[in-house]
Amino acid sequence: MPFGMPQTVSYMKKTTYPKPKLSLDWKATKYTALPGLIWFMFFLIIPLLIVLGFSFLKRGDFGTVLYELDFSNYKRVLEPLYLKIVLRSLWLAVYTTGICLLLAYPLAYHMARTDIKTKQILLALIIIPFWINFIIRIYALKLVLGESGIINHLLLELNILQEPLQLTDNALGVGIGMIYNYFPFMVLPLFVSLEKLDYTLLDAAYDLGANKRQVITKILLPLSLPGMFTGCMFVFIPSFGEFVIPDLLGGSQTMFVGNLITETFLKTRDWPFGSALSALLVLMSMAAFMFVLHRVSAATENVQDINATKHPEREHTYV
C-alpha cells in the first residue's frame, strides 16, 4: 500500500506475529465452489450437449430416436418453411424490443431523476407486475381484451361501437401481449443505468450552448447505451423463443420458433429435428448475447472515459 504505512521506528523490535488467517483464506473455500460447478456441469452442460447430439440423429417411425448419424435435420431447418418461422420470430423480437425501448425510456428517465421517495414507490410499482406470474398476467390481459372482455363490454354498452373489436386471437393480440409482458424487463436495466448517470454533464452541455435535442442525442443517449443494450437483451432473447403468448393470445393461429419447437417435441415427436431447431435458437441467442456484451463493454468504457475527464475542481464552481 503506497500511503498510510507506518514507518517502523528503528528502536522498536520487530516482532513477527503469525500472519492472521482470514476466514476466506481457508483452504476449504477453494473447494466450496466445486459443488456448484458439478451441478452446472451435470444439469446444464450435459443436457445441452445431449440436445446437440440428438440434432445429429434420425427420427424413427413412431417418434423414437434412431442412433444413426444424420445431418439432414440442419438442412431441413434451412428450408423456406422453417426459415420463414425463424424470421417471423426474429421480427417479433425486434418489434417487441423496439417498442418496449421507446415506451420504457421516458419512464426510466423520470424514475432515475426523481426524488428518493418517489423513486422507491415507482420501483416497487414496476417490480410488482414484473414478479407476478406471467401466466396470470396473460390471463388478466385476455380478460380485458377478449371479445366478451372489459374493453369491448364498455365500448358496446356506451354504444361507441356496434361490433366488438377483435383485440385477441390475432396478430394484434400477440403484439399487445408481448409488449405488456416484456415492458418491465426493459424498464429495470434502463433505470439502473440511468440512475448512475452523472447529470451534471447535462448541465455542462446546456451551459456550453447545446439545445435540448443535442443534449439528448449527443450526451444522454450515448451515456445510457449500456443500460439500453442490457434491457434490449433481456427482452430480445426471451421474446425470440416465446411460445405461450402466440398460443394464448394469438388463437394459436401463427407459429413462431417457440411454438414450432414445442410442437415438434410434443406433437410431431421428432426429437432430432426439434433438437436441431433448439440448437439454432441457442446459437442465435448466444450471438445476441455476445454482441450485446461486446457493445456494453465498449459503451461502458466510453462512459468511464467521460467520468475520468471530470475535473474535481469544477464541482466547486456550481452553487
Binding site: K21, P35, L44, I132, Y180, I261, V282
Partner: protein, 258 residues
C-alpha cells in the same frame, strides 16, 4: 443565464408525470380488472375464493408450487452461497469460463433449458415429479443467487476481516461474526428471489413436471386452453397478493441493508 436541467424539468414535469401515470395505469388495469372480476358472479363476494379453496385440484397444485419453491430456495441458496464464497473471496475475479457458465441459464431461452432437462431426465430414467422440477428450478435459480452475492462481495471491505483477525479471532469466528452477517442480506435476497422465480416459473415446469406434480402456473395454462372457471380468478388474485407482499418484503430488506 444558466439553463439548467432543473428548469427544463419544471417545464416537462407535468408531461413526465402524466406519462408515468398513464403507463402505470395501463400496466395495472388488467390486474385490477382481474381482482374485480374475482369478486363478482357469485352469491357472496368471496364465493369463488371459498370454492377455489375447496377444489382439491387447485389446492394440490398450489401445494405443489409452494413445496417446490421452498426446496428450490433451500438448494439454490446453499449451493449459490457456497459457490459465491469459493469464487469471490477477496474480491478476486472468477475465471472467464466459470463466469460464462453462471450466466448461461440467464441467457438460454427457457424452452431449450426445459426440453434439454426433460431429455436428460428421460435418459437417466428419473421419474418426472416434484423432484425433477426442483432440480430444474435450482439450476437456473443458483445463477441469480450467485450474482446477487457477487454484487455484495464487491462492496465488502476486506479490512474488516483483517481487523477481526488482528483482534485474535479464529477463521471460523471471523466468518461467522463478520463475513456471514455482512453477506446475510444478500443471502436472504437470493433466497427470496429463488422462491419467487420457482413459484412463478411456467416454461421449465411445463416440460419437467410429472404426474400429479403440476404447479399453479401450469394448471392455469391448461385451464386457459380447456376452459376457464371463475375459481381461477380467485386463485390468481391470491397469487397476486403474495407477490405484492414478497416485493414489499424485499424493499424492507433493502432499506435495512447497511
Amino acid at each position: 443565464m444558466r439553463q439548467s436541467t432543473l428548469s427544463v424539468n419544471i417545464h416537462m414535469f407535468d408531461l413526465k408525470k402524466i406519462y408515468t401515470a398513464v403507463i402505470l395505469l395501463l400496466l395495472y388495469f388488467p390486474l385490477f380488472a382481474l381482482a374485480v372480476l374475482s369478486f363478482r358472479g357469485g352469491p357472496t363476494p368471496f364465493y369463488w375464493y371459498q370454492k377455489a379453496f375447496s377444489q382439491p385440484q387447485l389446492m394440490l397444485v398450489l401445494k405443489n408450487s409452494i413445496i417446490i419453491a421452498f426446496w428450490t430456495m433451500i438448494f439454490s441458496t446453499v449451493l449459490g452461497t457456497l459457490t459465491a464464497i469459493g469464487l469471490y473471496k477477496k474480491n478476486t475475479k472468477a475465471p472467464v469460463w466459470f463466469e460464462s457458465l453462471i450466466h448461461l441459464p440467464l441467457v438460454l431461452p427457457e424452452i431449450v433449458m426445459g426440453l434439454a432437462l426433460l431429455i436428460w431426465f428421460v435418459f437417466l430414467n428419473i421419474t418426472l415429479g416434484k423432484l425433477s422440477v426442483v432440480l430444474a428450478h435450482t439450476t437456473f435459480s443458483v445463477s441469480y443467487v450467485i450474482l446477487i452475492l457477487r454484487a455484495r462481495f464487491k462492496n465488502m471491505d476486506p479490512l474488516q476481516e483483517e481487523a477481526a483477525a488482528d483482534l485474535g479471532a479464529t477463521p471460523w469466528k471471523t466468518f461467522w461474526y463478520v463475513t456471514f452477517p455482512f453477506l446475510l442480506p444478500a443471502i436472504v435476497s437470493g433466497a427470496l428471489l429463488s422462491f419467487t422465480l420457482s413459484f412463478d416459473d411456467f416454461l421449465i415446469t411445463f416440460f419437467t413436471a410429472g404426474v400429479g406434480s403440476d404447479t399453479l402456473p401450469v394448471q392455469i395454462y391448461s385451464m386457459m386452453r380447456f376452459g376457464i372457471t371463475p375459481e381461477m380468478n380467485a386463485i390468481s388474485v391470491i397469487v397476486l397478493l403474495f407477490t405484492i407482499i414478497a416485493v414489499l418484503m424485499l424493499f424492507r430488506l433493502r432499506s435495512e441493508k447497511i
